[in-house]
C-alpha cells in the first residue's frame, strides 16, 4: 500500500509534466490542425534559457520571467518561420517542417551551449517532505501545483474571457471567425506563443528533477504525444487526464511488470486506444454533420 502510494505520487508528478507538454500540442493542433513535433524542444530550450539566466546572476524569479519571455519570442519566430509559410499546405509538409525545426533547435542549443548536462536548482531549499510512508519531492509538488493552477487558468481563460472565446472560435471555423472581425493570424500567433510558454514552463519545472540536457525535450515529447492521443486529440481536459494517466500507468507498469519496458507501456496503451477507441477518453464533442 505504501509502495502504491509512493508510486502514485511520482506517477502523477511525471504525468503532470506530460500533461503540460500535451496541452501545448493540443492547443496548436486545435488552432492549426497541425501536430507540432518540435513541442518537446520548447521545454528543452526554456530549461537552457533558465540555466543561462541564473548563471548570469539574475534572481531565480527574474530568470524565470526572462526564460518565459524568451519562449514567447521563440513562439513568434516558430510561427513565422515554420508554420505560417506552410499554412495553406496539407498536414504532411508541416509535420516534416516541425521535425526539421526540432532538429534545428536541439542542435543549435548544442552548438551554442555545448553538450554538458546542467544542474538547475529547484524553487525550494528543502528537497521534499516525508508524509507518513510517502516521500513528497518538493519539485514534483510544485509541478502538480502548477498543473492544477494551469487547469484553472485555462478554464478561466478559455471559458470566461472573450479572447479565449475568440481563440476557440478560430479553431472551430477560421473563415467564420474572420467574417466576425477576429484576426485569425493574430489568434494563431497567440496560440503559438502560449504553447511555447506552456512547453517552456514544463521544461523549467522539470529541469531540477531530470537535469537540463539536449535530449530532455524529445523524451518528454514522445510521451506527451501518447497522452494527447489517449485524451482524445484536440481536447484540453483530455490532454491533462491523458498525461496524468500515462504517468501513473508507466510508473506502475515499471514497478509491477518490467522496468526496461517502461517506455513501451505508453505506446502499447496508445495503440490500444487507437484501435479500440480512437476518439480518446472523452470522444468527439462535435456531432456528425449532414
Amino acid at each position: 500500500m505504501d509502495l502504491a502510494l509512493q508510486l502514485l505520487f511520482t506517477g502523477i508528478g511525471i504525468g503532470a509534466v506530460y500533461a503540460l507538454v500535451a496541452l501545448g500540442f493540443v492547443l496548436i493542433f486545435r488552432a492549426t490542425n497541425v501536430v507540432n513535433f518540435a513541442q518537446g524542444e520548447f521545454s528543452m530550450v526554456a530549461a537552457y534559457l533558465m540555466v543561462v539566466a541564473v548563471e548570469a546572476g539574475l534572481p531565480y524569479w527574474a530568470a524565470f520571467i526572462v526564460a518565459l519571455l524568451g519562449m514567447a519570442l521563440l513562439g513568434v519566430v516558430f510561427n513565422l518561420g515554420v508554420y505560417y509559410p506552410l499554412r495553406h499546405r496539407t498536414y504532411l509538409p508541416v509535420i516534416i517542417a516541425t521535425i526539421g525545426a526540432s532538429i534545428l533547435m536541439a542542435n543549435s542549443v548544442l552548438a551554442i551551449y555545448g553538450p554538458q548536462p546542467q544542474v538547475l536548482e529547484g524553487w525550494f531549499e528543502t528537497p521534499g517532505i516525508q508524509v507518513g510512508p510517502v516521500y513528497l519531492d518538493s519539485q514534483y509538488l510544485l509541478i502538480i501545483g502548477v498543473t492544477i493552477c494551469l487547469v484553472i487558468f485555462n478554464f478561466w481563460f478559455f471559458e470566461k474571457t472573450l479572447l479565449g472565446k475568440k481563440l476557440q472560435a478560430t479553431s472551430q471555423d477560421k473563415e467564420m471567425a474572420s467574417l466576425l472581425g477576429i484576426s485569425v493570424s493574430t489568434m494563431i500567433m497567440i496560440t503559438f506563443i502560449y504553447s511555447a510558454v506552456l512547453g517552456g514552463l514544463a521544461g523549467i519545472l522539470v529541469a531540477p528533477v531530470l537535469f537540463v540536457s539536449i535530449q530532455m525535450g524529445s523524451t518528454i515529447a514522445l510521451k506527451a504525444f501518447a497522452a494527447t492521443i489517449i485524451g482524445g486529440f484536440g481536447d484540453v481536459a483530455g490532454a491533462i487526464i491523458g498525461g496524468l494517466a500515462l504517468g501513473v500507468i508507466e510508473t506502475f507498469g515499471a514497478a509491477y511488470i518490467s522496468v526496461p519496458y517502461k517506455d513501451g507501456f505508453a505506446f502499447l496503451v496508445l495503440i490500444a486506444f487507437l484501435i479500440f477507441r480512437p476518439q480518446g477518453i472523452f470522444g468527439e464533442r462535435v456531432a456528425e454533420k449532414a
Binding site: 509512493q6 554538458q116 539536449i214 506502475f252 522496468v259 517502461k262 517506455d263
Partner: protein, 381 residues
C-alpha cells in the same frame, strides 16, 4: 530521364571525389598521423570532448620528447555522433587515409563491435576503451584495450563489497545497453562465485526519467548493498537523488561512471560516501598523479577515465611504434603486446595475448564530493 540520371550519378561521383582529392593533395606533410573516433555530437558529446583533450595532451608530451619515429605526431579526429553507423563511417573515413598508422576507437563497446569488421579489414592497430570482455576475445587481433575489462570491474566490485565491506545481500542495478548488461552479468557471476548471489538483478532503460519503481524494488528486496552499472550521468544523478530521498542508505559500489565529474556535479550530496571502481584514480599511482597534474593545468577540470584512457592509448601506441621502429602494423602489434610494466595514468600496463592491457581496478570513495583513492585490486588471471 536518362540524361538527368546520368548527370546525377556524375554529380555524386564528383561530390564524393572532391573532398577526397583535396585531402590526398595535402596529405604529404611530414607528420605521423593517428586517427581518433570520438563523439563530438550526440548524447556522449561531453565525454567525447574530454577524451580528445586527453589524447591531445599525451601527443603534445610525446612530440616534446622527440615525437614518433622522429616525426611530430598528429591527431586526426572524426565525429562518431555517438551512434554505431556514425562510428562505422567515421572509422572508414579515417581508414581510407593510408598515412594513418594507428587509431583510437571508442569507449563504447557497441561502437567497437560496429567498427570491428572494418578494423579486421584494415589490419592496423586500434586502441579501444570499450570494456565488454568479448571485444578482445572474438578473434580480432587488432583491438588493444587501454582499460580493464568488465570481467575485472565486476569481480572488483564483488570482492570489495563482500570481503572489505562484509555485505552479502546484493542488489545489482544496470542499464540495459551493452555496457550495463555485460557489467551486470559480470558482477552477478562474481557474486555467485563468492557465495553471495544477488537478491535483486534489475535492468533499466537509458534516459528513464523516473527511478521510483527501481528504488522501491531495492527497498523491498531487503538488500544491504547496491552494485550498479550506469551509462549516462543524468540517469545516475536522478537515481542517486531518488534513492536518498526515499530513504535507502545502504552502501553503494558503482561502476566507473559513479566517479565521473558530470555525475558528481549532477548528483551532488546524493553520491557522498558511495564507492566506485575506477580505472582511473588520481592517487592510485605515480603515473596517475602525473597525468592528473597535467590535465588539471591544461583543462581546469578534475581528470577522469574519459581522458585518462586516451592519454594512455596515445602513450602506449607511440611507445610501441618507436620500439617497433617502423609503421608496419604487424610490428606495431608485436610491440604493443610486448608492453610490460608500462606506467600509465590508468595503472600499470601488462598486455596479454588477447590485447588487454590492464587487469585490475581501483576502488575509490566519494568523500563530500571528492574522489579519494581507497585501494587497488589486481588480478593475475
Amino acid at each position: 530521364m536518362k540524361l538527368t540520371r546520368r548527370d546525377f550519378a556524375t554529380g555524386i561521383a564528383a561530390g564524393i571525389a572532391a573532398p577526397y582529392l583535396i585531402k590526398s593533395a595535402k596529405a604529404q606533410a611530414a607528420t605521423l598521423k593517428i586517427g581518433m573516433c570520438a563523439p563530438v555530437t550526440g548524447p556522449a558529446a561531453e565525454s567525447g570532448g574530454y577524451a580528445i583533450k586527453g589524447a591531445r595532451l599525451a601527443l603534445e608530451a610525446v612530440n616534446k620528447a622527440g615525437g614518433i619515429l622522429g616525426k611530430q605526431g598528429e591527431l586526426i579526429v572524426e565525429d562518431d555522433q555517438t551512434t554505431n553507423p556514425g562510428i562505422v563511417l567515421a572509422f572508414s573515413k579515417l581508414a581510407s587515409q593510408p598515412d594513418i598508422v594507428g587509431f583510437l576507437g571508442s569507449i563504447r563497446s557497441t561502437q567497437v563491435h560496429a567498427m570491428a569488421p572494418d578494423v579486421i579489414k584494415l589490419g592496423k592497430p586500434v586502441m579501444i576503451g570499450g570494456t565488454d570482455p568479448n571485444l578482445t576475445h572474438m578473434g580480432n587481433q587488432w583491438l588493444f584495450r587501454c582499460r580493464p575489462n568488465d570481467s575485472y570491474s565486476g569481480r572488483v566490485i564483488a570482492e570489495f563489497g563482500v570481503n572489505t565491506l562484509g555485505k552479502k545481500k546484493w542488489a545489482v542495478l544496470h542499464s540495459t545497453d551493452a555496457f550495463g548488461t555485460a557489467g551486470g552479468k559480470a558482477l552477478s557471476g562474481a557474486l555467485e562465485k563468492l557465495g553471495a548471489p544477488s537478491v535483486l538483478d534489475q535492468g533499466y532503460a537509458n534516459q528513464s526519467q523516473d527511478f521510483t519503481p527501481v528504488v522501491l524494488a531495492i527497498k523491498q528486496s531487503g538488500a544491504d548493498i547496491l552494485g550498479s552499472y550506469f551509462t549516462f550521468e543524468n540517469d545516475l544523478g536522478i537515481f542517486a537523488r531518488q534513492l536518498r530521498q526515499l530513504g535507502v542508505n545502504i552502501p553503494w559500489v558503482g561502476s566507473p561512471s559513479i566517479t565521473n565529474v558530470t555525475a558528481l556535479k549532477l548528483a551532488g550530496p546524493a553520491l557522498y560516501n558511495t564507492y566506485g571502481v575506477a580505472d582511473y584514480a588520481e592517487d592510485s599511482s605515480e603515473g596517475s598523479k602525473a597525468f592528473g597534474k597535467i590535465y588539471r593545468d591544461a583543462v581546469k577540470v578534475a581528470p577522469d577515465n574519459q581522458s585518462s584512457w586516451t592519454f594512455d592509448a596515445i602513450n602506449v601506441l607511440s611507445a610501441a611504434i618507436n620500439k617497433a621502429g617502423s609503421t608496419d602494423p604487424g610490428k606495431i602489434r608485436e610491440a604493443i603486446l610486448a608492453t610490460r610494466k608500462f606506467a600509465g595514468a590508468e595503472g600499470e600496463y601488462n598486455f596479454d595475448q588477447n590485447g588487454d592491457g590492464l587487469h585490475g581496478y581501483n576502488v575509490v570513495k566519494n568523500e563530500k564530493g571528492n574522489i579519494v583513492f581507497d585501494k587497488h585490486i589486481e588480478f593475475n588471471d
